[in-house]
């Protein structure tokens, strides 16, 4: 049974493995650091070696990581965190029946709106390829792993963000440490901060402003790339970010304008004066 909760620490039943009167102040630094580093792996899609942990440790880690990701406070990270557990659940074929029973999910179907809200987890299970009747999507046995993954996603996602009002201040540093930012090895002077932005992942808001102020002018007029190259590079950058979609047609027209007028990237100081919220957000994420 302990293996079971180690695999699915987010299930309601797993909570009884937590000590009563759990006080966050008494959590050893070492445990917090290890949860933070695991979260960083999860958020940056690196492999996560969890099999060495006991069920109790796993549940404990899950609770801590849930708090840390809630401090980061972006939809993009919640989604990535929940997807990690969805994928882990999908792979545990031997436990799927037990998992669905514990999760309180019907092992055979989901209602259409719930399925549609979570179907992006496994887009290969298109609605029109599944039997649908009376507002219920029926899952053939071979798609049970996908159903379980979808249920796991919804369970994790629905508990986020967690209430972090009573969390000790030290958690904030560990949350920041979990942000998966790969900083370029290039010079930190001059346009170093734009290079950091280019290598950043998971920026949920302000993408258009970042592109407008810095990235597009930098690529077009500092690096001297052609408009097509700029668009391709920005497209790749956008694929690593969260939040709403940015239209490529907008990127292209902006790149053309930057190229035509020779617009240089704005300095950090200038943006800080005109748009302090953007710079503050990027600093909090650890990108700048």
């Amino acid at each position: 049974m302990s293996d079971f909760y180690a695999l699915f620490p987010f299930l309601p039943g797993a909570r009884r493995l937590l000590p009563e009167n759990l006080s966050l102040d008494l959590i050893p630094e070492q445990v917090l650091a290890s949860a933070s580093s695991r979260l960083k792996n999860i958020l940056s899609k690196r492999p996560d070696y969890t099999t060495v942990l006991s069920a109790r440790e796993e549940v404990f880690h899950y609770v801590l990581m849930r708090l840390l990701v809630s401090i980061l406070g972006t939809d993009y990270y919640y989604d990535r965190f929940a997807r990690y557990y969805a994928e882990r659940t999908r792979r545990q074929a031997a436990h799927l029946d037990d998992f669905l029973a514990e999760a309180g999910a019907d092992p055979e179907f989901l209602d259409v709106p719930t399925y549609m809200s979570f179907r992006h987890i496994y887009p290969e299970t298109k609605l029109y390829h599944l039997p649908v009747k009376g507002g219920q999507v029926f899952f053939p046995r071979r798609l049970f792993p996908y159903l379980a993954g979808t249920v796991a996603y919804s369970l994790v996602r629905s508990s986020l963000p967690a209430d972090v009002s009573d969390v000790p201040p030290a958690f904030k540093d560990y949350a920041r440490a979990a942000v998966p930012v790969t900083v370029s090895s290039g010079p930190t002077r001059g346009w170093g901060f734009v290079k950091r932005l280019l290598s950043a992942e998971g920026i949920p808001d302000g993408k258009k402003r970042i592109l407008l102020f810095w990235i597009i002018p930098y690529l077009a007029n500092v690096k001297g790339l052609s408009v097509d190259e700029v668009v391709a590079r920005v497209q790749e950058w956008l694929s690593r970010q969260g939040g709403q979609k940015v239209l490529i047609s907008w990127v292209r027209s902006d790149a053309e304008l930057a190229k035509k007028k020779g617009i240089r990237p704005w300095s950090l100081k200038k943006v800080e004066q005109t748009d302090p919220a953007l710079v503050k957000m990027l600093r909090e994420m650890g990108v700048l």
Binding site: Y128, H129, G134, Q136
Partner: protein, 415 residues
């Protein structure tokens, strides 16, 4: 001049009829249009139904549309600032998109200005595609045709009953149906459960209805022999496909009926002779499909899928269903192009758009020059046929003919 005439007629209509505002009127963005332009101003909002009705009575716009989306600030100038809260799901059915031609329709060549009736094409077993004189693509102008209306209603009925009520489990209260005011119908889904779905989810739901992206190979388990597949009693598309296959086999009178589905002659012959056994087997979920090596045995089944969707496998513009920022005609308002009412419907079968949705009065009469028009029923009377004639016609018929692009107003008669 025509604008003023129409505005007066619209104002008279709106002053004598209370048009109900769309649900959650305070959360909707509105756009209005003038003669010949569907949207000239958008980002408008009304706080109450009374405010909306007063606007119609005072301004009598030629077109008024509302957003399928619900916004926190519907009158904000940009979409980002409006802050989307959710959106209805809309399905649009237009007879021209579904390619339902009637012998009564008129074709016009935009290049050489040749024109005629579609029956000239249909009698030769052709569809009105290319101009017989210059070979350029022709434009088909549709005129009222009871058979086409029946067919369109059947497709809308299939969507509502089979897909929305039976499969998606919606309640009739969550579905609203209205005539578009021109060539088709709009089906509005106002379910809380569907309101917050994103664009990708809407694309998938639309694909569910059109069947465009469906791949029948997903329904079969080829690890068994004979292949295991859907039963006719199965729900959703798998069952629909199985029922279609059974129906096609039961209706097949000769081998060639199966060959036209894309089967090779040898497989078709074998299947035709064993069809009774095959149908019985399919009913149990076992598909002993005969196939030759290298042949895609699922291709004929895939071909059958096309005819099963309410859109009849046609490449329709599904933007209305997918675009959550779209504006769509407010039900029970007048379509400025045709003078017909975008009427809310309780029972689609008892509705005759060219009688029940006529909103404009017959007076004043207009003198119009009609290029070509067949005999057609409109506002409870029979009109036409006309060919290159100058006529004095009631306002509603004149506007309808002008909206079809087959008539021009020459001068007003105050009779």
């Amino acid at each position: 001049m025509i604008e003023r005439l129409l505005s007066d007629a619209f104002r008279r209509y709106y002053r004598s009829h209370e048009v109900p505002a769309p649900p959650a009127v305070e959360r909707r963005e509105f756009g209005v249009g003038a003669y010949g332009r569907k949207i000239v101003k958008r980002h408008m909002s009304f706080a109450t139904e009374r405010e909306f009705q007063n606007y119609l009575k005072t301004n009598a716009p030629h077109y008024i549309s509302y957003s399928v989306g619900y916004f926190e600030y519907p009158d904000a100038p940009s979409m980002e600032e409006k802050h989307l809260l959710g959106a209805d799901l809309i399905f649009e059915f237009d007879s021209d998109e579904l390619g339902l031609f009637s012998p009564n329709d008129v074709w016009i060549c935009p290049h050489c200005r040749a024109k005629g009736f579609v029956k000239e094409f249909l009698e030769k077993g052709k569809n009105p595609v290319a101009c017989p004189r210059c070979g350029d693509p022709v434009k088909v102008i549709m005129f009222p045709d009871p058979d086409r209306e029946e067919r369109l209603k059947e497709e809308v009925d299939t969507l509502v009953k089979d897909f929305l009520l039976d499969e998606w489990g919606l309640s009739p209260k969550e579905i609203a149906l209205n005539f578009s005011g021109n060539r088709g119908y709009h089906v509005h889904i106002r379910s809380d459960a569907f309101r917050e779905l994103d664009k990708d989810a809407r694309i998938e739901l639309t694909e569910y209805i059109t069947g465009q992206a469906l791949d029948v190979r997903y329904f079969f388990d080829v690890t068994h022999y004979p292949i295991r597949g859907p039963k006719p009693s199965d729900p959703g598309w798998p069952g629909r496909v199985a029922r279609a296959v059974v129906r096609a086999l039961e209706r097949a009178k000769r081998v060639s009926d199966l060959v036209v589905l894309g089967m090779d002659a040898a497989s078709a012959r074998k299947l035709f002779h064993d069809r009774a056994m095959f149908v019985e087997s399919v009913k149990r979920g076992v598909w002993p499909i005969p196939g030759t090596r290298g042949e895609d045995v699922f291709a004929p089944i895939q071909r059958l899928v096309k005819g099963l969707s309410p859109y009849m496998g046609k490449e329709v513009d599904t933007n209305t269903s997918v675009d959550i920022h779209r504006l769509i005609r407010v039900p029970d308002t007048i379509h400025g192009g045709t003078g017909l009412l975008a009427k809310r419907l309780k029972d689609i079968w008892s509705f005759d758009p060219f009688k029940d949705a006529v909103a404009l009065p017959s007076r004043p009469e207009l003198e119009v020059e009609v290029d070509i028009a067949p005999e057609f029923e409109f506002a409870g009377e029979t009109w036409g046929p006309y060919r290159n004639q100058k006529l004095l016609l009631p306002l509603h018929v004149s506007i309808y003919l002008m909206s079809r692009g087959v008539a021009r107003w020459t001068l007003t008669s105050e009779s």
